[in-house]
């Protein structure tokens, strides 16, 4: 899956959470810091492979943690997709 972050997000940081305003949808979301890490990693201009993202976040974890972390990160990606803060890369028609 190739993913990019939407443009022009506005972020307000608090301790463990961030508030994200998306001018594209007009929606406001409260995200925990882990989800925000994922969001921060993603570029807006060129698509990033989800496997590359997962590799980045799992680089220091132990082997027996990898499967669980993989699922956790996938869940967060799915949530961000649902919130339309990220989208899968469109192929040109």
């Amino acid at each position: 899956m190739h993913i990019t972050k939407v443009n022009n997000l506005r972020i307000k940081n608090f301790n463990d959470q961030v508030i994200v305003f998306d001018p594209n949808t007009g929606q406001t979301h409260c995200l925990d810091s882990n989800v925000n890490e994922i969001l921060n990693y993603l570029p807006t201009d060129k698509p990033c492979q989800s496997s590359q993202l997962k590799q980045f976040f799992m680089q220091d974890c132990l082997n027996d943690e990898k499967a669980m972390l993989n699922d956790y990160i996938q869940d967060m990606i799915d949530s961000l997709l649902k919130l339309k803060l990220i989208h899968t890369h469109c192929k040109n028609a």
Binding site: K12, N15, Q17
Partner: protein
């Protein structure tokens, strides 16, 4: 400083005639309303409750033309009903004629909520003392209206009982100083207070029970043009027999709570987001659970001392 003419410079008959004919023009905080109605209950309540408000005329710019009218046809006479109009438009279903004044109050709130998007509008009470303003978001079970009335009767300047107006340009709170709407037991609680209270007509056939409006203090109305920076947001919760308990609110949670309590955040876009961010940054946010009047008043005094 030019002296303002207030409504109480008019006699009863003059008020009635103006309401009946071209409309009575008064300043309500930053807004100007032209009120029209031939109903005697409107005239008597307006005279009683709005006496301190600045009287203007049709030579001034007017924001809203509101009226309370009886419909044509049988409902004028049989189980009489009334309608609220904002200019030619009637946004609500008709109500029994006995609810004319509450309907006018609700209608005026509606006008502001629909047309004042140069403010961030929050469903909350706002009061000020010692130059410090406190916002009380109106969650259900908060006892906000009673609390607001109690504070207003104990030396706090009332900015609003229902709606915080936060200027999107500079995040200052603007006042309305409108009558405080009270229901059921709250009316008795406030009546029993030692200080002088002036109430509008008690209307007791609404399905939320009995409603009445408390006249705002002359001091609050005279200071209505004074804007102020928000100091604290207190999320109140009334719980019978609960010893007073104050907790700091997580700021991210406070942010989301505030936008849930806003009338117009969802349409303001980025301007709304920035305004709430600045509001949360500049205020202390607490949750307050209480049951005792004396304790809660003491808490607020301490907060702004």
């Amino acid at each position: 400083m030019p002296i303002k003419t207030t409504l109480n410079s008019l006699c009863t008959n003059e008020i009635y005639q103006q309401l009946k004919n071209d409309g009575l023009v008064i300043a309500v905080g930053p807004f100007v309303f032209c009120i029209k109605s031939s109903l005697p209950s409107i005239a008597s309540n307006v005279e009683k409750i709005y006496g301190d408000f600045q009287l203007l005329s049709h030579d001034d710019l007017i924001d809203f033309y509101v009226s309370i009218k009886k419909p044509k046809g049988l409902r004028r006479f049989i189980k009489p009903q009334i309608n609220f109009y904002c200019d030619d438009y009637s946004p609500f279903l008709p109500l029994p004629a006995s609810q004319a004044f509450p309907l006018l109050e609700w209608g005026m709130n509606w006008c502001i909520a629909q047309h004042a998007h140069h403010y961030l509008l929050l469903h909350s009470a706002v009061l000020e003392k010692n130059g410090k303003s406190v916002i009380l978001p109106a969650q259900s079970g908060s006892g906000k209206s009673t609390l607001c009335a109690l504070l207003a009767l104990n030396g706090w300047r009332l900015l609003s009982d229902e709606m915080a107006l936060i200027d999107l340009q500079n995040c200052q709170l603007h006042a309305l100083a409108r009558p405080i709407s009270l229901k059921n037991e709250s009316i008795d609680v406030i009546h029993k207070q030692a200080c002088e209270t002036i109430f509008g007509e008690v209307v007791d056939d609404t399905n939320k029970g009995t409603i009445s409006h408390l006249k705002p203090s002359t001091f609050s109305v005279q200071q209505v043009e004074k804007t102020t920076a928000p100091f604290a947001i207190i999320f109140p919760k009334y719980q019978a027999e609960q010893v007073i308990c104050i907790e700091s609110t997580d700021k991210a949670a406070a942010f989301m709570n505030i936008i849930e309590n806003s009338f117009n955040y969802s349409i303001l876009g980025e301007a709304g987001f920035q305004a709430v961010a600045e509001l949360i940054d500049n205020t202390q946010c607490h949750t307050l659970t209480y049951s005792n009047t004396a304790e809660v008043l003491a808490f607020f005094e301490e907060l702004v001392s």
